[in-house]
Amino acid sequence: MDMSKYAPKGSILDDFLNGITKGLFFVLISLIPAMIMSFSLILILNLTGLMPIISKIFNPIMGLFGLPGETGIALVTGWLSTPSGLIMCVDFFNKGIINGPQLAIMIPIMWACGSCLQMTGRVLAVCKLDKKYYFPVYIISWISAFAIGIIGRICNAIFF
């Protein structure tokens, strides 16, 4: 969808209204589908009893960042679609699985490596990156996510 006609032009009132229109379209086209997907996924995982198993698998990895295993599911979901991953984390917070500082560090972790397939088309292909560098970029994004997880854990321990 072409959003360029809603781009800011310098008139405060027009820009404000255009931005609002952009936001409404964004929710309808991107967010609601992502939310329906992630909430259905959570329900499926809960009903099949897979949730506890997956969180057990992720426990050692997420434990490095001071996070419970359940957040691993949010990370995987975030890898497909970052907003869905964030929504899952909010859900986990409401259920008391994670606390505020943990939610705060999940945001950079998920965004570092998130929406991988989408971003390949929207960033790497558009920027005309040589295809042989795609894989290094993925690896680097995962290493960055890992690094920020550790940094976030240290920051959480110091500040909160």
């Binding site: 936001g23 929207r122 920051c155």
Partner: protein, 225 residues
């Protein structure tokens, strides 16, 4: 296009990008955006409250989404409740962008890109757009620089990696802010904390690509030698 022509165009472009003129109101709007979305006045009791995003967002007054929901229906209702917050957020960002707030951010950040991330400062517009407003906007501006032949292949690789890592890492979580702002505030975590970490992630990503180009990539190793 001849090499000389490209060089001349590049020179003009760099000149233009390194000496961008920002009116004072650009800085005012940038400061306003940081205060408004940063939640600095969330706890204020006076009229200063109007400078806080969650305050202006207000309340529904009725419970739109219950607590016992699950599955696709619950997901839809959750999505429905974020309509006003995303709309308000993008509305304000659009105003700030239109009043040169983004340009001011670019001007302030330009000098630090080269030493900190390894790509030239005049890529700042693409970098700031990709970080603050939209992934696609940032990518399109990068494409423009690449197509015109202004950037070397090594710089392009580093810059693309910077764009990819935590893409739209401030703009996207910000537009979903209504979901998680109140949760962080209730656990007394400052709102800008995750955003600072996002910036750190971006710098780590760009620098890892720098190291990769320097020590691992055969193509660029030869260039270095």
């Amino acid at each position: 296009m001849s090499e000389q022509q490209i060089n001349e165009e590049k020179k003009a472009f760099i000149e233009e990008q390194s000496h961008i003129k920002v009116k004072w109101k650009g800085y005012v709007y940038l400061l306003f955006a940081i205060i408004f979305f940063g939640g600095f006045f969330a706890g204020a009791h006076s009229w200063l409250k109007i400078f806080d995003f969650t305050t202006i967002l207000g309340k529904f007054g009725v419970e739109l989404r219950g607590t016992t929901g699950a599955g696709a229906r619950d997901g839809f209702m959750f999505g429905f409740t974020v309509f006003p917050s995303v709309a308000l957020c993008l509305g304000i960002i659009n105003v700030v962008e239109g009043q040169q707030g983004l340009l001011a951010a670019q001007k302030l950040l330009n000098p630090i890109f080269k030493p900190l991330c390894g790509f030239p400062g005049w890529c700042g517009l693409a970098a700031v757009t990709g970080l603050l407003t939209s992934t696609d906007g940032g990518a399109a501006l990068t494409r423009d620089i690449v197509d015109k032949g202004f950037i070397s292949k090594k710089e392009q690789t580093i810059f693309t990696c910077f764009q990819y890592t935590a893409s739209c890492g401030i703009g996207a979580p910000l537009s979903l802010g209504a979901l998680w702002y109140p949760l962080l505030l209730s656990s007394s975590v400052i709102i800008i904390y995750p955003f600072l970490l996002v910036i750190v992630v971006k710098i780590i990503g760009a620098n890892l690509m720098r190291l990769y180009c320097k020590y691992i990539s055969k193509e660029f190793k030869e260039v270095n030698a």
